[in-house]
């Protein structure tokens, strides 16, 4: 009894802490142009080994700059786990036949030169080679109406490649390094006019928008299923104290407010509105049944901070508060290393039916989960991510991705780049 009372008090305090953390508004967004974009979930599986069906991800990156060339310096993080005994890609140790499914983390980086107002898109499986680049020439000489491929063709003039003299030359996007692949992508807007290029804190920063679409070949009934989400954006503050070194300060530290934030910070609390796993799709009942589809939700979380210079991924403990429609509340926690991608009813247990995220335990169809990052990671405790809802019927499956809602601001994360 006393223990319950203490626990109740602690829960109340924790809840209050979560409820009041960062009463200032969260500042990352999924609906504004930004200087850093994060695609939390990039997946590729040509044969369905990991995901059950062939899967690929279409990455969309567009510039909202109206007059200048922008450079996106991108980091593709490979978080694919492998069995310790076979080296095969895996999601859980259960698939390793006695081995352990060991998480992996390494990154490759590349540049995307994107012209004014230009949209670009590439599949994770293909990348974008020189042959795929839209604006690489030929161009027109600035001093005469002559087709050219370089300034040498223009007899003293400049070879203007592209309608506004900008081009994609220098872009090279590699395909994902293995199949199957799970990872994330982060692109940072650089100013190509600087030598060497550096993070863009100029007045024309915050010019990138992005989306990711996870495609699944869902079977003969539904050959192609897509789940589209907006990339998470961090806006450059362009404040007087913002610098362009390789340590990107995301948000202002809670203590002393120093150093000045280079970019807006991660949310203090993420909020996911979801079905509990195992809920019957309400559209399946009533006048127009659609086959009694069962719902499940997967959650993808990535730490906001990472040290890409020393190859030390961010590591954050995610604390969860789960509310059902009866206002009842449960809690859990888990560690988020690099990329965390899991069905919600597997967060707290391998037995889905006994999870606090299952309908049989929570008791209602929908719930609200609040997520807060804690811990001592030198890169900070911020988290960001997306959720994916899946509905399975007897004949087909469908999925849809959506952004996590945000509240408050995390006390400063660090993204250190080479």
């Amino acid at each position: 009894m006393l223990k319950n009372a203490r626990l109740a008090l602690l829960a109340g305090i924790a809840g209050l802490a979560m409820a009041t953390a960062g009463t200032a508004q969260a500042q990352t967004s999924s609906d504004e142009s930004a200087a850093i974009l994060v695609w939390p979930k990039v997946v590729y599986d040509s044969t369905g080994t990991l995901f059950g069906s062939p899967t690929d991800t279409l990455i969309n990156l567009s510039s909202t700059a109206t007059s200048s060339l922008k450079q996106a310096h991108c980091f593709l993080v490979n978080a694919t786990s492998h069995c310790s005994n076979s080296g095969e890609a895996c999601l859980t140790s259960a698939s390793c036949g006695g081995g352990v499914c060991q998480p992996g983390w390494n990154e490759i980086d590349f540049n995307v030169y994107i012209t004014q107002e230009q949209p670009l898109a590439w599949l994770a499986s293909d990348g974008m080679s020189f042959n795929d680049l839209p604006i690489v020439g030929p161009g027109i000489c600035s001093n005469q109406p002559r087709i050219c491929f370089s300034n040498a063709n223009c007899g003293g003039g400049t070879c203007l490649i592209g309608p506004n003299g900008q081009n994609n030359i220098g872009t090279g996007i590699p395909p994902v390094p293995e199949d199957p692949f799970i990872g994330s992508l982060t692109c940072i807007q650089f100013d190509p006019t600087q030598n060497p290029p550096a993070p863009d804190q100029s007045p024309t920063t915050n010019a990138l928008i992005g989306e990711g679409t996870i495609f699944t070949a869902a079977g003969s009934a539904i050959p192609v299923d897509g789940a589209k989400y907006n990339a998470v954006g961090f806006r450059a503050t362009a404040d007087a104290g913002a610098d362009t070194d390789n340590v990107l300060q995301l948000g202002t530290p809670a203590v002393g407010g120093i150093p000045t934030a280079d970019y807006t910070g991660c949310a203090g609390t993420l909020i996911v509105n979801h079905y509990f796993d195992g809920a019957t799709d309400p559209v399946a009942t009533g006048a127009n049944p659609s086959g009694n589809g069962l719902t499940s939700t997967s959650l993808t979380l990535v730490p906001c901070g990472n040290n890409l210079l020393t190859q030390v991924p961010g590591s954050v403990v995610a604390q969860f508060l789960v509310f059902n429609e009866f206002e009842q509340r449960f809690s859990s926690s888990t560690r988020v290393d690099c990329v965390y991608n899991r069905q919600i009813s597997n967060i707290d247990t391998p037995n889905n039916n006994r999870s606090i995220w299952s309908t049989g335990v929570s008791g209602t169809l929908t719930g609200q989960t609040r997520i807060q990052g804690v811990g001592n990671s030198p890169s900070g405790n911020g988290l960001t991510g997306i959720a994916t809802l899946s509905i399975e019927t007897s004949t087909a499956s469908s999925s849809a991705a959506y952004s996590l809602d945000q509240m408050g601001t995390n006390a400063g994360d660090l993204l250190t780049i080479p």
């Binding site: 109206t66 030929p138 027109i140 109406p145 087709i147 309608p163």
Partner: protein
């Protein structure tokens, strides 16, 4: 003897009328025979049997940027696109197909030459107009370096030879300066004024409305296409205009009507029903309630053989310069 005198009198009257017409042509800076800053192609049509080729030339020695608007008569909505013309560059495209951008187009193909920009297709069933405006970085500027023509061609492959051509109506800069905003004031100050009064000579399409060359078993229909100079591309709002028609036959008998009321765009055949009596040749003056531009296309057909030919021409303005405005949609 009396008939001979009557014929001569008629001929002389015709000459006198022609001279009078020539003398009364007012030049308001809205012309079809000199370059301007705004080009209006009042009649752009595409269908299963017809297509319109648009030609635009930059008459200046500097590059010129142009912003063009297709006006769809059905919705009074517009689609706009951008052209970049090098010095003295001519360009052309078919309205139905538009034109892409491909620097490697083969020699002597339809896309050969420096592509001026991406031009959308108007589609296979379009009626409307095209308005092009000189700009620099999307801001209107009056340089008076554009000229254009439209060729309406028969594409059916049949015996008809309905190919017509007319000059785009060019509006020059006014006496003042342009403020480079998206409201193009055709007030004589920023740009020249359009006219409300237009005169068209035509062969009435009633008996004896005969083609003077084909003679019996022929017919002539004269089609007028008109759009108001008050255009609002930002809002798809149609200006309603009333055209009052005054007609004269070869006996100087004046009649009036029928009047035509339209909004956004209209294409109609001249109705000579009020002519009394009808003569082989007549003239009509349209007075509009607000400034307009017009173009005429006449169709001459042999009713026995079932073939026709057409010819378009520009219309004389006879005064009535008045202010209007073309409002462009704002660019990001």
């Amino acid at each position: 003897m009396r008939a001979k005198h009557a014929a001569r009198a008629t001929a002389l009257l015709g000459v006198f009328a022609a001279c009078t017409l020539a003398a009364s042509m007012a030049s308001a800076g809205v012309d079809n025979d000199r370059p301007g800053s705004i080009l209006i192609f009042p009649k752009v049509v595409t269908s299963a049997t017809r297509d319109t080729t648009i030609r635009i030339s930059n008459t200046g020695n500097l590059a010129n940027q142009v912003r063009c608007f297709y006006l769809n008569e059905e919705t009074c909505g517009s689609v706009d696109f951008d052209l970049a013309l090098t010095k003295q560059q001519p360009t052309q495209w078919d309205a139905s197909a538009g034109r892409g951008v491909n620097l490697l187009d083969g020699f002597a193909t339809s896309g050969a030459g420096l592509d001026p920009g991406l031009i959308p297709p108007a589609g296979g069933d379009f009626e409307g107009a095209l308005v092009c405006v000189e700009v620099i970085d999307d801001a209107p500027v009056a340089q008076n370096k554009l000229k254009g023509e439209a060729i309406i061609r028969d594409i059916s492959g049949g015996p008809d030879r309905n190919t017509s051509a007319y000059n785009a109506i060019a509006i020059t800069s006014g006496s003042g300066a342009s403020n480079s905003d998206n409201i193009l004031a055709l007030d004589g100050d920023e740009y020249s004024q359009c006219s409300t009064d237009h005169r068209i000579d035509f062969i009435p399409s009633v008996t004896p409305g005969l083609d003077p060359v084909l003679g019996d078993d022929s017919a002539v229909v004269t089609n007028v296409t008109v759009i108001p100079c008050d255009l609002d591309f930002s809002r798809r709002r149609a200006t309603t205009v009333v055209l009052n028609a005054t007609l004269w036959n070869e006996f100087e008998v004046q009649t009036s009507g029928p009047d035509t009321t339209f909004s956004c765009w209209a294409s109609f055949s001249i109705d000579p029903a009020s002519l009394s009596p009808a003569t082989p040749y007549a003239t009509v003056e349209y007075s509009a309630s607000s400034p307009v531009v017009m173009v005429v296309e006449s169709f001459h057909s042999d009713t026995i053989l079932g073939v026709s030919g057409s010819a378009a021409h520009n219309v004389h303005t006879t005064g009535g310069a008045a202010s209007s405005a073309i409002i462009l949609s704002a660019t990001p």
